[in-house]
Amino acid sequence: MILFAFALAYLAMLALCLAMARHHRAVFNTAPTPRRQRWLRATASGLLLGAALLNTASSGLAIGLVIALTQLMFAGVTVGLTLAWRQRWVVPLGALLGVIGMLSAISGG
């Protein structure tokens, strides 16, 4: 469950990052349309909410929120560092984390 929540936090940070023109251009070679920006930001809020809900469901409200917040910060640092040195990996890494997270959530991890 924690891994899945981390995957959501990473994807949320990634979506927020790609909603910014500079990073969208770096990854996809074009600036995002305003519509795409709105869509990315809305997705990010949904993912953030999902991560917070998963954590509070598995660790209780107080500790769950502490985990959600620290996880989010670490996810942000991970996105930033990946973008700086391994730009091409930033999206595939999100997909990989999502799959691993989902598998671990299904198997009850």
């Binding site: 924690i2 940070m13 927020l16 990052c17 910014m20 500079r22 990073h23 660790s59 107080a62 500790i63 502490v66 985990i67 917040l69 620290t70 996880q71 910060m73 670490f74 942000g76 640092v77 996105v79 930033g80 560092l81 973008l83 700086a84 040195w85």
Partner: protein
């Protein structure tokens, strides 16, 4: 002068001057997230699980038999999941000398002395320098808060540059990006930990109000604030002790079978002796404050602590800082964000240096020497401590002190080396990285040679991930340092060759 300009000077100097001290504090705090795991690593007798017949009474008997001086108090803690052994500490009445012992559950005898993971915890909150160190750390924490808040004010593009890190850019730009990335994304963590860290000893940092209200008696203040209990000494000989086990059974019944934490016996050689039992509950952010105090002889319950709401709020803040809740995941995340804090400090001094490299001012060499002495010295000294733990013979007298000496001397050696090589910063960092790599990669090997049950293969085979994790992290850190020291040197343009217009340069100012 605008607010931002005035804050820029404050951020530059208020950040630079305490940054080496803060690095020591934050790095030690990061290691202290795993203090109990390190403690187990440092005590080979604990590497494999053991069942125990040892009881609180046995530990109490040991202290009565082995410590001759009259005791002010002694305290003991039973085995837990993270600390699978009996712990004992005591304070002598007249000299105030403190001792501590950890018992091997198999033999019931004290294990070879070691400073253990607690060394880093103590280093984190008082630099191993007692009350004076505690005040220095508090001051550094307040400086950190000042630097964080002024940093928010001077940062022009806090959201625009949120994820921006351009390692290929010119020196100052790259370091500023890194400083911002680690500082801004980790900001909630840095702010909360700096604030709660200062709050832990707030009563010592700002004692005036309590001293006036309680007539200069800090003990009366603490007792009332905590809802605690204290019985004054009667100066009469003690009676026959009630067995500790019956008190613990009673406490467990009152708490519906909860686990027992610290057991504290106050002035055991006096007729007023009191046994206090604390609850152990790592499932909450603030640990429960409902200790039970018993008469040590009759076993009568004298007092049940009812902490006032203010104290519970304080304990919640302390708990948020100490990260003893929520299991390994919380400590892992705290540790990773602590490293982000260290990276923020390193990058911050990097910005300061790159900005001034063109001008040959004297401060540059001092900053370089301090960078080498602290940013490399502290990790190298920590590894030297772990090496000493494995290499010093078990029978050595004052073994813990010898370990601490190895830590200090290794650090001193690195500091001297850094001072001598301050004119060749690149060579300095490569050589010290190489040393770090040798120490970090060698330690798992040494571990394999000296501990039959503690090395990576044995711990992985047992599924003991916490013990294996320490060796795995050492291998990872060692490989990274080896890669850094062996890769071909990069030629980077020095900052003074920057030909961009002055307006852009201005924007780089932190």
């Amino acid at each position: 002068m605008t607010l931002r300009q005035s804050m820029a000077g404050l951020h530059t100097w208020g950040g630079l001057l305490p940054s080496w001290l803060l690095f020591v504090i934050i790095f030690a705090g990061t290691l202290a997230c795993f203090d109990k795991e390190l403690e187990r690593w440092m005590r080979p007798a604990l590497h494999t699980p053991a069942a125990t017949a040892m009881t609180a009474t046995d530990v109490g008997n040991w202290v009565q038999a082995n410590v001759q001086a009259p005791l002010h108090a002694y305290w003991l803690h039973g085995p837990t999941e993270r600390e699978p052994y009996w712990r004992l500490g005591w304070e002598e009445d007249e000299s105030g000398t403190r001792g501590r012992v950890a018992f091997d559950l198999r033999t019931g005898r004290p294990m070879p002395e070691t400073v253990g993971g607690e060394f880093f915890f103590t280093l984190h909150y008082n630099l191993q320098a007692g009350t004076a160190g505690m005040y220095i750390v508090g001051l550094a924490g307040m400086f950190m808060l000042v630097a964080l808040v002024s940093g928010i004010i001077v940062h022009r593009r806090i959201f625009k540059d949120f994820f921006t890190l351009r390692p290929q850019a010119n020196g100052q730009r790259a370091w500023l990006d890194a400083h911002n990335l680690f500082g801004v994304i980790g900001l909630p963590f840095h702010l909360i930990l700096a604030y709660t860290g200062v709050a832990v000893f707030v009563a010592s940092y700002m004692p005036a109000g309590a001293m006036v209200a309680y007539g200069g008696d800090p003990l009366a203040f603490y007792e009332e604030v905590q809802g605690g209990y204290h019985r004054n000494e009667l100066n009469q000989p003690p009676g026959q002790f009630a067995p500790l086990e019956t008190l613990l059974t009673d406490a467990r019944e009152r708490w519906d079978g909860a686990e027992i934490g610290w057991i504290i016996v106050e002035h055991p050689s006096d007729a007023s002796a009191v046994v206090s039992v604390r609850r152990f509950d790592p499932s909450r952010i603030g640990s429960p404050q409902d200790a039970l105090s018993y008469d040590a002889f009759t076993g009568e319950l004298l007092h049940q602590q009812q902490a006032p709401a203010g104290y519970r709020a304080y304990i919640w803040l302390v708990g948020l800082h100490m990260a003893q809740f929520g299991g390994h995941i919380v400590r892992l995340l705290y540790g990773l964000l602590g490293l982000a804090g260290c990276a923020m400090l390193i990058a911050g001094t990097g910005v300061w240096l790159r900005k001034r490299e063109g001008r040959q001012i004297r401060g540059i060499e001092i900053v370089r020497a301090l960078n080498g002495a602290v940013f490399f010295g502290m990790p190298i000294a920590s590894l030297a401590l772990l090496w000493a733990n494995r290499l010093l013979p078990d029978t050595l007298a004052e073994r813990g002190a010898a370990e601490a000496w190895c830590f200090s001397l290794a650090w001193l050696a690195v500091a001297v080396f850094a001072y001598l090589s301050r004119r060749q910063p690149l060579g300095l960092s490569r050589r010290l990285s190489a040393l770090l790599a040798i120490l970090a990669l060698g330690l798992p090997l040494l571990n394999g040679l000296t501990t039959p049950e503690g090395h990576l293969l044995a711990s992985l085979a047992r599924g003991d991930l916490m013990l294996a994790g320490i060796d795995a992290v050492l291998l990872l850190v060692g490989s990274l340092c080896a890669w850094y020291s062996l890769r071909s040197p990069q030629t980077k343009k020095p900052a003074r060759e920057d030909t961009r217009p002055a307006a852009r340069q201005q924007e780089l100012a932190p």
